[in-house]
Symmetry: C2
Subunit: 404 residues, 2 copies
């Protein structure tokens, strides 16, 4: 919250805020229409100056980006998803705060929304060149808080991870722009908490989410078996269709949350796991509340339960016996912290997922592509964010930039 | 529960039940008064045939133990504590079940209560001799479920751990009889979950318990700082006296549960930890419920929270952010499982605690010694168990055997 009080560029720089070129003092700033000739780039971004309900606080802001020299490069965004964490960040309830800055030519500091995305380098200074970047390269964000719901941005070498030509081959912008968060979350949770052997089970809720679908497919690749919990639907035909879809993707068992919490679940789990000979050694949880506790009860002794979300907005409730006598270990996973701690590992994980995608082993999560052209109105874009907030979308929302 | 249906010795043996000599078929069984001359030992034990409320189901049972030959040795108990787990075991709510057997000359299977204790070998067969045991040696139990609330028992080599002469020197029977559970629990919890550095803090509730006092003293030995939570008392003078007592033992900070849950606790914790420069990296919990969650909130990021009890009978409730963003790991600890998994480590831990005790670095937990002589009535002993159940005792109850 401290960064909200920033109002001068030098102070912003001291606070670790990216000091984009401050155009207010630029002599050419008054002559916007003609500036493209000098290498200035026109840009639009979904920004907010106060935390709050996204439709109320977001606005589409236009500004210019000065020609990149020295440390900087100019990015043109290709695809940026709308993730739940982006919404929480705008609401002010996400621990990773965006950068509030006046460098986008506003009198008061504002922040650009969005944390994940892929962009193309369209111009660059000497330092990025020395670091091996070139015009036309694709980059993804190195960490959260950069602001990806924008047509263009100025960036430094440390803000981005380059996708080299081999990694980029055969990969669409939407695939590259959505690889960092959900597939990496699923990948690391399946790998970093317990050494699962081929034939071992994991169990997860939210199995229809981006992370859930990634976990199903990675599990199948690695010879793991999965029990997948989805929300039950009033429309049984739709529920059966979803079950079939996830099974075709590699899910061994798909059940609803009601089935998970039913009386016979222990006997069913015994049957699936061949009487425990193929033990359930890992649980992945993005729901919390009673449904999470019910899932933990199916775990074998001396196993691990990893929480990466809380869609029910409930805490996790753990009976003492589950800790003391069953020796289940409860952890959390946050991909942003992981990426910050393990930058090299992040590059390898992204490369691995892109390689699987290229080979067709990794199906895209259903996407609702939102075209963002230069002329697209702010209210239209903000309406699409609201749809995500209200759960109006079956697929994941992703801004796809065209003609910008 | 399956073992409750055992009724014949061969079946008992198949089920892993210790096949003590079955006296019902012995020709000398009818001549009890004269059997001592043949090396038979008269014994009394607090036993139960059904799970339930201890005063209702316990009874003092007399039987004989035949002379030890082959695998067996005869033990005379010296000291056996009353631990909360013993009560839970009699109630049938403890996962480690006792052995129900007919080998104590009863028509229906019964179990001997108690899990911890120290005994002297008074006679032994060839196998224990070959294994290095001799008459007069002190032994403690190797694991739970042996039944220690008894004057005498027949045991096998694998049932016991010998305290060699060096370990036993200067150690009282009560000290040896109470070393296995509480001090070992505190010792391993401080060592096995995080590599605490000198000057690091740990925080614990139930600080006045046997485990709590052991943790304070071990922490002091190892250069750790401790924040200790106790139950508040209506009698403020008694509360202050307890705080002083724990501080003299080595506690750095002692607070009540009300103080832990008060508004200003975060600022106080900042002050104690020098603004987080001496981070709180481990929490030890035997209470659960809100008080446990409040304790977890004081932990630094990327730390560990270990539950070994639930005196409030509440589950543990964890906000998602504590798992995901603060990266706190929640574990359980059960000394019985640890001892079973790490028998060599158990011997070393016991030896280390006894060495500290010998050097005066480890003060005894206040004990309420209950004398159990041959003539002591069952109702008197069972009354003392009831006192533990009702919380009537400030110190820990321990049976001390005399003239048996």
């Amino acid at each position: 919250m401290a960064s909200k009080t920033l109002s001068t560029a030098p102070k912003a720089a001291r606070m670790g805020v990216r000091p984009l070129q401050c155009l207010r003092k630029s002599p050419v700033h008054a002559h916007r229409r003609g500036i493209a000739a000098y290498g200035y780039e026109q840009a639009k971004a979904l920004t907010f100056k106060d935390y709050g309900d996204p439709p109320a606080v977001l606005s589409l802001h236009s500004h210019s980006i000065s020609p990149p020299h020295g440390d900087l490069m100019t990015l043109r965004f290709l695809a940026s998803p709308i993730n739940p964490a982006d919404i929480n960040q705008i609401q002010g309830v996400y621990p990773s705060k965006p950068t509030f800055t006046t460098s986008l030519s506003t009198p008061n500091p504002i922040a650009v929304a969005g944390n994940e995305g892929v962009a193309e380098i369209i111009a660059l200074g000497s330092k990025p060149k020395e670091a091996g970047f070139k015009k036309g390269d694709w980059v993804i964000m190195n960490g959260p808080g950069f602001g990806t719901w924008r047509t263009h941005a100025a960036a430094r070498v440390e803000d981005v991870v380059k996708l080299d030509d081999a990694m980029r081959e055969g990969i669409s912008a939407v695939q590259a722009g959505t690889v960092s968060i959900n597939p990496c979350t699923a990948y690391r949770m399946l790998r970093d908490f317990v050494d699962l052997k081929e034939g071992d089970f994991f169990i997860q809720n939210g199995a229809n989410s981006g992370v859930g679908r990634a976990a199903i497919q990675l599990g199948r690749q690695w010879g793991l078996k999965s029990i997948n919990v989805i929300r039950g639907r009033d429309d049984k035909a739709a529920e059966d269709k979803l079950k079939t879809e996830l099974k075709e993707m590699g899910a061994d068992i798909v059940i609803t949350d009601a089935e998970l919490q039913s009386q016979g679940i222990r006997d069913m789990a015994k049957e699936w796991t061949n009487g425990g000979r193929a033990p359930i050694r890992l649980a992945l949880n993005c729901v919390n509340g009673k449904a999470a506790t019910a899932m933990a009860k199916l775990l074998a002794s001396e196993t691990h339960f990893v929480t990466y979300g809380a869609m029910s907005k409930q805490p996790l409730t753990i009976p003492a016996s589950m800790l003391i006598f069953k020796d289940i270990h409860f952890h959390g996973f946050w991909v942003s912290r992981w990426a910050q701690r393990h930058p090299e590992e992040k590059k390898k994980t992204v490369a691995d997922v892109l390689e699987m995608t290229r080979r067709g082993m990794f199906t895209d999560t259903p996407m609702d592509k939102i075209t963002w052209e230069w002329e697209t109105k702010g209210e239209e874009l903000i309406g699409k964010v609201k749809d995500t907030l209200d759960g109006y979308r079956e697929g994941k929302g992703v801004f796809v930039f065209g003609k910008t």
